[in-house]
């Protein structure tokens, strides 16, 4: 049987190596010319529990995960018990001989016999790769690279033997999980998750300083930057807390290093004091927030889009900011790149809002071109010389930025209300002019706002509106409805602040009804649309059970 796309789920306990299996399979699929889209569901524990790594694979581009499993790789009984009911018709289960998989087409793998003391997950990988028709050598080489081993290593040899044994065993079985059509062409593609892409985008923009305090699901942004820091000359530090992290980054940025901090909701809560400092001192800073469900510690490893308004309103006092909300991994790269440039130009905070779903979602991407990219060059703006004034009042609100110790100018930055020279003042008339100057930058930011992208008919009966990571599932749901003959359009925001109603309000008004779909309980973006553009959504569909939106979930809700 041939399928348009395959959903492969690997399930087991943390510590059983399911992520390694998943990553190697994903890489092999990409190298064989397929597109992939990974969703990871894991519990907040290092060993045990129940985790899944799901790869959707197809010969065509994929924008969304889907429900229903075509190939279930069960590393334990719990996986079968929990996910047996999600199997599509014709699905195949790969499980150990000792497990019970009632009712499904089950390949009982004699792990003990095949493994002979080698890792069971190598056998599971081999059997699964074989079922998918992947090349044995390719799998072996990819596994070797993933393990960070040299080819002459003993461990490598053992893994190769394990893979060979599992491919041989599979050849003797009658097994078919539905074959994907062979890809037409296989241009070289990268495998990247959202967080990795944000990090690489920031590096492409000339990031020079990173400070962070670990918090799931943001940590991989920091780890990706650190992995390349020595090569690219980036200074980094794991701070004593998030308060220190953002203040360090602000100190570094003041002194000329393009800087980023990354965290999740709870850590951002601590950073809000420093965020406000960025607003007052007009110091460029990029804050990447990988959202997870709250309030408080919430569901540490799950996903939600619950911190939009917090990103927008965090920090005391009033000051301009921009919030980017990439919808896919490619947009994550662009957001990382753009955020640093915007922060430098407007001298203040720029957010990147992502979430666990997008952060951990590996996808196949064509390499990013670096042509025409430029590194941020801090400190070159405006007038120099002895009469230099850090907070000079200008028509666009952007004051000349110089760097301390790089020229004759003295650069004075202050958290108190200050004079144009940067010194403390309680001149209330000046306070008004200064606040006005700072807020003026919002105009510039607004003029540079990325417009939302519309798809589907110009005047649809139903317009599905989304922001950030919901883009793909919403697009997929709309496609299915259009296939059924319905008039459905989509509108996705990859920047959620500032909003420029001229970019979208007239077209939204032409839709029969507007449905806002987001990963939270209260319809935060729907509220923002109403407040900023007077657009009243006829419906709001929210998801806040910790799982990512899927087209099926959206369709079920729409049908209700």
């Amino acid at each position: 049987m041939s399928r348009d796309s395959l959903n492969i789920m690997i399930g087991g306990e943390a510590g059983q190596g399911l992520v390694t299996i998943g990553q190697v399979l994903s890489k092999c699929l990409i190298k064989s010319g397929y597109h992939i889209l990974v969703t990871q569901d894991y519990m907040s524990r290092v060993r045990g529990g129940h985790n899944t790594f799901t790869i959707r694979a197809a010969a065509r581009e994929l924008d969304s995960p889907t429900e229903g499993v075509d190939l279930l790789v069960a590393l334990n009984q719990e996986t079968l018990d929990l996910h047996g009911k999600e199997l599509n018709s014709g699905a195949v289960v790969v499980a150990g001989q000792d497990l019970t998989c009632a009712g499904a087409r089950c390949l009982g793998v004699p792990y003990k016999e095949l493994a002979e003391g080698r890792h069971v997950n190598t056998i599971a990988l081999g059997v699964t790769a074989g079922l998918l028709g992947l090349d044995q050598e390719l799998v072996a080489d990819t596994l070797t690279t993933a393990l960070g081993k040299k080819k002459d290593d003993k461990v490598v040899a053992a893994n190769r033997e394990g893979l060979a044994a599992s491919f041989d065993w599979l050849a003797k079985q009658e097994a078919d999980c539905g074959v994907l059509p062979k890809p037409q062409e296989a241009p070289p593609r990268m495998m990247l998750g959202g967080n990795q892409a944000i990090a690489l985008g920031a590096l492409a923009a000339g990031l020079k300083f990173l400070a962070f305090y670990p918090m799931t699901p943001s940590t991989s942004i920091a780890l990706t930057i650190i992995a390349h820091a020595d090569e690219l000359g980036v200074v980094y530090e794991q701070a004593e807390d998030e308060i220190a992290a953002i203040n360090m980054a602000l100190g570094a940025s003041y002194a000329g290093a393009p800087a980023l901090v990354c965290t999740s909701g709870g850590g951002y809560a601590l950073m809000t004091e420093g965020l406000s400092l960025a607003g007052m001192t007009e110091t460029p800073i990029v804050i990447a927030i990988a959202m997870r469900p709250g309030p408080a510690t919430g569901l540490p490893t799950r996903t939600e889009q619950g911190d939009l308004l917090f990103a927008l309103h965090g920090g005391h006092g009033e000051f301009p900011r921009a919030i980017l909300a990439p919808g896919d991994v490619k947009q994550c790269f662009e957001a990382g790149y753009r955020a640093l440039h915007l922060a430098e130009k407007y001298q203040g905070p720029v957010f990147i809002l992502t979430d666990q779903f997008l952060a951990d979602s590996l996808r196949a991407l064509e390499p990013f071109g670096l042509e025409g990219r430029e590194a941020v060059r801090p400190g070159g703006q405006g007038k120099e010389g002895a009469d230099y004034r850090r907070y000079e009042i200008t028509p666009d609100g952007i004051s000349p930025r110089r760097l301390p110790g790089m020229g004759p100018e003295l650069v004075v930055a202050d958290s108190d209300e200050h004079t144009q020279q940067g010194h403390i003042t309680e001149d209330l008339e000046l306070r008004v002019r200064m606040q006005h100057k700072r807020m003026l930058k919002e105009k510039g930011l607004k003029a540079e706002t990325i417009p939302p992208s519309f798809a589907g008919p110009e005047e649809p009966e139903t317009l599905l509106v989304s922001w950030g990571s919901s883009q793909g599932p919403v697009a997929a749901a709309a496609r299915r409805l259009r296939d059924e003959g319905q008039s459905v359009g989509t509108c996705h925001f990859s920047q959620v602040w500032p909003l420029d109603p001229e970019q979208f309000a007239p077209r939204m008004a032409r839709a029969g009804s507007v449905v806002v779909i987001e990963g939270n309980a209260t319809g935060q973006f729907a509220g923002l649309l109403k407040k900023e553009a007077g657009i009243i959504a006829q419906r709001f569909i929210g998801r806040f059970d910790g799982l990512n939106l899927t087209p099926e979930y959206i369709l079920r809700q729409l049908a209700n």
Partner: protein, 284 residues
């Protein structure tokens, strides 16, 4: 040649007679002594009376948030290794609100100079107890006296093997200028805890009180490289309070772990797109 006049007089909002004046003058003297011009230095501070110092000395300045001076100074010092970064803030700021940063900073050992104006009280918020207030001190906020054990920054710094730990007194200008000059020379984090009378709110630890107790360490009296002796000395705070260098060692500074900082400020370094291309290709 840098002259005292380069740092001329600036009008301040400090109370007449405040110990902060002595510290400001000693700092200027040390800067001139080390040949540091206003462009060469960056003063970073938090919030409080002491933390206003960067406004009262011509220099590059980053006057940040209460308690957060040290992390900001850390970032600036890491971004621009050529800048002389000096943190000047109060005891409440550095040891109270910024307590976790103080501990982190002592362990991190970034090359910068930390001057704490230790008046054993909160000045700017008008006279509440600070982490270094002595037990039993009465204030409006502590009407029954302070119950908390006073924080001993010098002992904590010595216990963590901070490379340069000293105590000075705002009433001993020459001596203090000497200590600050030594601190500026030290590679790594240098802490000078400075006893600073607050004439408006601290009626206990006055000039007189300090004068009766402080004693300058005599030449040869104490070997600052002897850690155990330094620990012992750091606990001497009562009828006799030693002034001078309490502890010294030569640990590698945090900056030394980043080869990129040998090439000067990060701002000038650009991005190697050739290398980045290679990195992107490694994800294929």
């Amino acid at each position: 040649m840098v002259k005292i006049e380069d740092y001329g007089e600036i009008e301040t909002a400090w109370c007449p007679g405040c110990g902060n004046f002595g510290i400001r003058n000693a700092l200027i003297r040390a800067l001139v002594d080390k040949g540091l011009a206003p462009q060469d230095i960056l003063l970073v501070s938090g919030i409080g009376q002491a933390a206003k110092t960067p406004h009262y000395i011509p220099c590059n300045a980053f006057n940040g948030l209460h308690g957060r001076g040290l992390p900001a100074a850390t970032g600036a010092a890491l971004a621009h290794p050529g800048l002389k970064v000096i943190l000047t803030s109060g005891d409440g700021c550095n040891y109270g609100e910024g307590g976790n940063h103080f501990l982190g900073g002592l362990r991190r050992n970034v090359d910068l100079t930390m001057l704490v104006h230790d008046n054993q009280i909160y000045g700017l918020t008008k006279g509440q107890a600070s982490p270094t207030s002595l037990e039993g001190m009465h204030t409006k906020a502590q009407p029954h006296g302070v119950h908390l054990v006073p924080f001993n920054p010098v002992a904590v710094a010595v216990s963590l093997h901070v490379g340069f730990v000293a105590r000075g007194f705002a009433g001993e200008l020459e001596h203090l200028a000497g200590l600050i000059a030594q601190a500026l020379e030290h590679k790594g984090l240098a802490l000078v805890d400075i006893l600073q009378p607050c004439v408006s709110f601290n009626k206990l630890n006055t000039y007189e009180w300090y004068k009766q107790r402080v004693r300058k360490l005599e030449k040869g009296e104490h070997d600052p490289t002897d850690w155990e002796a330094a620990i012992k000395l750091s606990y001497e705070f009562g009828d006799s309070i030693p002034l001078g260098v309490i502890y010294e060692n030569q640990r590698a500074s945090f900056q030394e772990f980043f080869p990129v900082l040998k090439d000067g400020p990060l701002a000038g370094q650009g991005t190697d797109y050739g290398k980045l291309k290679g990195i992107l290709e490694s994800y294929a």
